[in-house]
């Protein structure tokens, strides 16, 4: 395994640029020309309805998918060259967690450090315990991922990304499956990490409150296209009808129910 050759700027966020990204799966076009620029050290939130291509976009951003056209640049170097993966610490929190099921939670968290031999075992254990505590999973090192609830798995996955102390971190729906209280804890952790090591954070979410709470800037994606980019205020005041509808819909079921009863 190649050691990431870390330079003195290891704790500084990197810039991320996406140019003209197109991607089709079996003839179905999922990304239809996406352009995004994420500035170093900012928290950038991508919102959009289910199936609009958010996860696919995120997978391109860390080089898991090859686009049909367009490119993804980290500090102006293509993500698809192996050197980029070695020069920068990157991390991703998968929508389903992506923990290795055959390893314990503790081993999962320490995986990056042990595989790249960045820290001695005792030190790894200390860091793992610390990050687990930060996400509210104190003392769960020896459990297997299958012994955790969905929300706990998600938090463990976030802790695994925290251990890496990355320069770019991608979160896919970090607060889905979490109760409101844990969601706030995770949001605080995300912001804290961003302040402490200036990591560039890209977050996919359809949790509006969370998104507007943490974002420095945000983008709204609909059906494989970016409809709006800007600060939360700019996006909120965007006159586009689809965006307004997406940002303001609410549950009206209770009303509909009582309406139908009164008939």
């Amino acid at each position: 395994m190649n050691e990431p050759t870390l330079k003195s700027n290891q704790h500084l966020g990197v810039s991320l640029k996406v140019h003209g990204l197109h991607k089709s799966f079996n003839g179905q076009e999922v990304l239809k020309g996406v352009d995004v620029e994420v500035r170093p050290s900012e928290i950038f939130v991508i919102m959009g309805p289910s199936g609009s291509g958010k996860s696919v976009l995120l997978r391109h951003m860390i080089g898991l998918e090859e686009p049909n056209a367009g490119e993804v640049l980290v500090e102006d170097k293509s993500i698809l060259t192996p050197e980029t993966m070695e020069d920068y610490r990157l991390a991703m929190v998968f929508q389903s967690g992506g923990l290795l099921n055959s390893l314990t939670v503790g081993e999962n968290l320490g995986l990056y450090l042990t595989e790249h031999r960045l820290k001695p075992p005792g030190e790894v254990m200390r860091i793992v315990a610390e990050k687990l505590e930060a996400v509210g999973l104190k003392g769960q090192e020896d459990k297997l991922p299958s012994e955790l609830s969905g929300g706990m798995r998600k938090r463990a996955a976030i802790a695994r990304a925290l251990v890496i102390e990355p320069q770019l971190i991608l979160y896919d729906e970090p607060t889905s499956e979490l109760d409101p209280l844990s969601a706030v804890v995770i949001a605080e952790e995300i912001v804290k990490l961003n302040e402490r090591i200036q990591v560039t954070s890209v977050i996919v979410s359809h949790d509006r409150e969370f998104a507007f709470g943490v974002a420095d800037r945000m983008a709204v994606i609909f059906d494989g296209r970016i409809l709006a980019v800007g600060t939360p205020e700019e996006v909120r005041s965007n006159p586009d009808k689809t965006i307004q509808e997406f940002l303001n819909v609410d549950f009206h079921l209770q009303k509909a129910k009582s309406d139908s009863k009164s008939k």
Binding site: L64, L99, N101
Partner: protein
């Protein structure tokens, strides 16, 4: 099919290139090694015992009728170590170990675990394929040594106890020692080493190729076992010819 063979060779080559990392992955190699031994040692012994037994049972009476009672040991000895032990054990291991390698790697693929490794800049070939390939390449020849010895024992027992054959242990093994040379055993071990590489590469490759959910994993496992067995049987013919030509 040819694209598949190309991919297999590429995967094998990449794994060979990462061999210097074996020392680092030694814990994983040991784990895999013991898992293989645990899962198959008993089965290897039972199977080999009966294979040796049936060999003696079928050939013994015919040889005895023709006054060749003395050559039962040699016949069982040679067939066991040059052909039956390596091929049968490889097929057994393809079914027992190859399948579980494919299932494990396949489910890691399906549940985004391999993607997670890649985002951490951990090469799945170094992390998953290398330990498995090294472990099976060492374990299978060792299992074949067991198989040969137990098979000989089974043959000798049947030869001694079956009243149509009635060849004593002593004459069975003295004939066996006359006929079987060390190079014959080495021949069988070499074959099994090659088949071990085939099983390891095919199973891991099929696992990494898995798409779809649980059903995709099932499909991959079936495919990998069938491909391994077909490859072993076909390769066996050509390898045997080659070895016969090189060491007549």
């Amino acid at each position: 099919m040819f694209q598949n063979i190309g991919e297999l060779i590429l995967l094998f080559w990449r794994t060979v290139q990462s061999l210097p990392l074996s020392w680092r992955q030694r814990h994983k190699i040991f784990d895999q090694f013991f898992e293989i031994g645990n899962a198959s040692l008993l089965m290897v012994c039972v199977l080999s015992f009966f294979i040796g037994g049936v060999l003696a049972l079928l050939t013994g009476p015919v040889l005895v009728q023709r006054g060749l009672a003395n050559s039962v040991g040699g016949l069982v000895g040679i067939s066991m170590c040059k052909e039956l032990a390596p091929v049968m054990m490889s097929i057994l291991i393809a079914g027992r170990i190859g399948s579980s390698m494919t299932a494990e790697i396949g489910s890691m693929r399906v549940y985004e675990e391999i993607d997670a490794l890649r985002t951490m800049n951990i090469n799945p070939i170094h992390y998953l394929v290398l330990p498995r390939l090294v472990a099976i390449a060492v374990a299978l020849p060792l299992l074949v040594i067991f198989s040969i010895l137990v098979g000989w024992g089974g043959g000798a027992l049947v030869a001694a106890t079956n009243h149509q054959i009635a060849v004593s242990f002593q004459s069975f093994f003295s004939n066996l020692r006359e006929v079987v040379a060390v190079k014959d055993v080495a021949n069988g071990l070499f074959k099994s080493f090659v088949y071990a590489l085939v099983i390891g590469v095919v199973s891991c490759h099929q696992g990494l190729q898995t798409i779809g959910g649980p059903r995709g994993i099932g499909r991959s496992v079936t495919k990998s076992v069938v491909n391994c067995i077909v490859a072993i049987v076909i390769l066996d013919y050509f390898l045997t010819r080659l070895l016969l030509a090189m060491f007549p």
